[in-house]
């Protein structure tokens, strides 16, 4: 049985036997891969899977239509499983609300509950940082502050504030996002350098210790902004300074919300 046949078989069985009310997977439209939400077993034939599938499907948990269909089954790669674990740790989903149809590399590992998925990813390394991202970060580190500022001014200039990045991120689930708080408007919604800087920097910061480096934000961005530079940089600091990896378990304490008496404060006089 091929990978996709196995996914379809499990999806069909889960729906038919009433274990889940919705399956979230991917479909194909020409050469694009798009999310697919199905509620009937006979719809599984439209499911596809290959490495062109990039969306992090747990982002759909923000939708009331998906929450009201729980329990649901979601096709997830390790980064998606980690996102689910962040959601569970943050009490956004009950552990039994989601089943995982786990894909690791080009292997289907079967349908499992979240606890089993947490076991599965224990032996897996976190998502790698793309070589060009790592190289660019090294290049930026060697620049002067003003040159870095100029780089980011140019890099974020094309941002139109469409928030596709936010929409495609599973851990950007706030119903009252900071950019939409308008009494007063604290993050400028203007697509000028200061507004684009504020939005992208604040969003990256809000994902510190929560981002699983799935890359969906950058892939979703219609302007191809280098968002992974921000995310990879933050996750590097989180990992190297604090030995913390996002989405490692079902009941992980939050990174930014936690503290230790031994936290570094060499930068504080």
């Amino acid at each position: 049985m091929s990978l996709i046949e196995a996914i379809r078989a499990d999806a069909s069985q889960l729906l038919q036997e009433g274990h889940v009310k919705m399956v979230l997977g991917y479909r194909a439209r020409y050469d694009r891969r798009l999310p697919l939400l199905i509620t009937q077993a006979d719809q599984v034939t439209a499911l596809v899977y290959d490495e062109a599938c990039w969306q992090n499907l747990p982002t759909y948990i923000r939708k009331s239509e998906v929450r009201s269909a729980m329990p649901v089954a979601i096709v997830c790669r390790p980064e998606g499983i980690r996102s689910l674990l962040v959601l569970a740790s943050e009490a956004q989903i009950a552990p039994d609300a989601v089943r995982v149809l786990a894909v690791v590399g080009s292997e289907y590992r079967g349908a499992m509950d979240l606890a089993a998925a947490a076991e599965l990813i224990k032996d897996l390394p976190p998502a790698p940082v793309a070589p060009d991202v790592a190289a660019k970060l090294d290049e930026l580190a060697a620049m002067s502050a003003n040159d870095r500022a100029a780089f980011w001014r140019d890099a974020l200039a094309a941002c139109t504030r469409c928030y596709a990045c936010r929409a495609s991120c599973p851990v950007c689930y706030c119903q009252n996002c900071v950019v939409e708080r308008n009494t007063p408007q604290i993050v400028s919604t203007t697509a000028a350098p200061h507004g684009n800087f504020a939005w992208n920097i604040v969003r990256a910061f809000h994902q510190a210790g929560r981002c699983t480096l799935c890359g969906a934000c950058q892939a979703a961005c219609p302007q191809d902004l280098p968002l992974m530079l921000l995310n990879a940089w933050i996750e590097r600091q989180v990992r190297e300074e604090f030995a913390f990896i996002s989405g490692s378990g079902l009941n992980e304490p939050p990174f930014i919300g936690s503290w230790s008496p031994n936290d570094d404060d060499k930068f504080i006089r």
Binding site: V178, I201, F205, F255, D265, I268
Partner: protein
């Protein structure tokens, strides 16, 4: 550490020197009281600093720091109680974790430690506060006006 031999600089002296605008976000119970002590002790420190008092450093949203740079600050100082002395027990521990990541993020994006400063200043440390302010102002003066092309600054 601060240079304790630095003397206060009064704006207006010296020829057309750049006078930075520094915003200081400080906690009510320690650093603000320390600044008050500097005042009652008649310690001189640069007048470039504008103090914003919050109940605790744990309340300081990193967005406030961004807003300061956006609105015209050349430098920002964030200061609170020493670890273990927080009036709300652990607010400054939360702040420390947050700042550890945030200052590195700002460093990546063009605002480095010449402009963004953090400190622990207690209510008894009036001299430390005065020396700190003078040092921060001199560092930001050296760094120059916040670059107009820096995307963090709103340009009209």
């Amino acid at each position: 550490m601060t240079d304790t031999t630095a003397t206060a600089h009064t704006p207006g002296q010296g020829k057309e020197q750049f006078e930075p605008t520094i915003i200081a976000f400080v906690c009510n119970w320690c650093t603000y009281a320390g600044a008050d002590l500097a005042g009652t002790s008649r310690l001189k420190y640069d007048a470039n600093i504008r103090i914003i008092k919050l109940p605790c450093t744990g309340r300081i949203d990193p967005l406030l720091v961004l807003k300061a740079f956006e609105s015209g600050a050349d430098g920002v100082l964030v200061s609170g109680c020493h670890p273990g002395d927080c009036h709300y027990t652990s607010g400054n521990f939360h702040a420390r974790r947050r700042w550890a990541i945030f200052h590195r993020l700002l460093e990546l994006t063009g605002i480095d430690s010449s402009r963004l400063h953090f400190s622990w200043v207690s209510a008894a440390e009036g001299q430390k506060f005065a020396d700190l302010v003078n040092d921060v102002v001199s560092k930001v003066r050296l760094a120059g006006p916040f670059d107009a092309v820096n995307p963090a600054r709103r340009r009209s």
